[in-house]
Symmetry: C2
Subunit: 212 residues, 2 copies
DNA sequence: TTGCATCCTGACCGTATGGTCAGCTTTCAG
DNA sequence: CTGAAAGCTGACCATACGGTCAGGATGCAA
């Protein structure tokens, strides 16, 4: 009677449940932090009994780790925009767009990531020391090259990167504050567009990479 | 034997203990989040028995609220730089300096504030809807005036403010990430100076407010 | 059809945590 | 000096949480 779908195959069951749990966990971890999140709440949100969570993820830590790693993947993927670009205008524009889209579509993930880093990255320390460092060094080299080629002013690449991360991430992490200051309403399509435009204009102008 | 100071007066005792508790609480809340923080840990860090905490602060929520309100005060005070300035160069420079100094000297407080907002500002919602909104509207008006007076390009004042908040706050909230990418060492005096300089240069240039 | 691996779950457990309280010590006004 | 108010604290309690487990249900290969 309550069944609307055909009996599932094992593979599908596993995949769907894991997905539901990860989605619910992301939201709960984002809203309450690791310490404030409870397995019970995640289970309720995922529509599963609590014991079932432990069938898929042995411990709360393991579940949390999975959530954080997921975000990290998405976060790193936004990097591609940077690489294929031929100059700061293309590259930084695309990167800002990509990161703003993540902030908009994936605010919970962004918050979990922020929370993880704020608390000293207990789970991701090794990633930060390897993958993140490599990624950053690569991007720093690219920016340096752009500077040498006269495509932008000599700005410290690291602080520029931090600025990009901070500004774009802010729209997810501090979304509640922005919403409150926006009269309690989420940003509209137009406002998101304006946000992107403003950020891009200020930064690109700021580093002397404006077209005209 | 262990007494190095003369017996204290009641007033002093109260003041000192409250201060010690608030300091310890700020650190623990910053490191573990509200849910992950324990009264026991705060008590240990403050060097007091747990029951004593409850003598000064009835509940964990009340203690947390005090910590958050403290930060909010400091945060708002940085605003003054903005008001007394005669133009964007002075005002924004001073504001960036002030907020960066907060990020450097008060990273725990900044993290607690960030955490509070990220979790939907359960404690500070009323403040955000009154004080913060008023403050923001005031600053928006100032920026608008600067634009009308031709002292800077027509940038959306709100997104500019968000950019200032995000960029400066990032050095506290994501301090661990920055430290990791800095070879595991905290930023030196020189690096902090460079950070400020870079941010100021990019933003002031970006909004067309550079002196020359 | 059968046997088995996978999937599921209600009931349970040990522990850690926020909070309480009775009764002690210390300060200090009168 | 004295009594009351303020300050302090070890021991205690109820609860909520992460995690376990025995045993039932279900899909599926042979």
């Amino acid at each position: 009677m309550t069944e609307t779908t055909r009996p599932m195959r094992r593979q599908d069951i596993r995949r769907e449940n894991e997905k539901a749990i990860l989605l619910a966990a992301e939201k709960v971890f984002a809203e309450a932090g690791f310490g404030g999140a409870t397995m019970q709440l995640i289970a309720d949100l995922a529509g599963l009994p609590k014991a079932n969570l432990h069938y898929y993820f042995a411990t709360k830590e393991e579940l949390y780790r999975s959530v954080v790693q997921n975000i990290f993947e998405i976060w790193l993927q936004a990097a591609n925009c940077f690489d294929v670009a031929r100059g700061p205008i293309d590259g930084i524009s695309a990167y800002i767009d990509a990161k703003m889209e993540i902030s908009r579509r994936h605010p919970d993930g962004s918050k979990v990531w922020a929370s993880e880093v704020m608390h000293g990255a207990p789970v991701l320390q090794d990633y930060m020391e390897s993958t993140l460092r490599e990624w950053t060094d690569g991007r720093v080299a690219i920016v340096r090259r752009w500077i040498e080629e006269g495509k932008m002013d000599p700005v410290d690449p690291r602080h520029l990167l931090y600025m990009l991360w901070a500004t774009t991430q802010h729209y997810a992490d501090f979304g509640h504050q922005i919403e409150t200051l926006n009269g309690g309403k989420p940003l509209s399509d137009r406002q998101w567009r304006e946000a992107k435009e403003n950020i891009k204009r200020v930064i690109l102008t700021g580093i002397g990479a404006q077209p005209a």
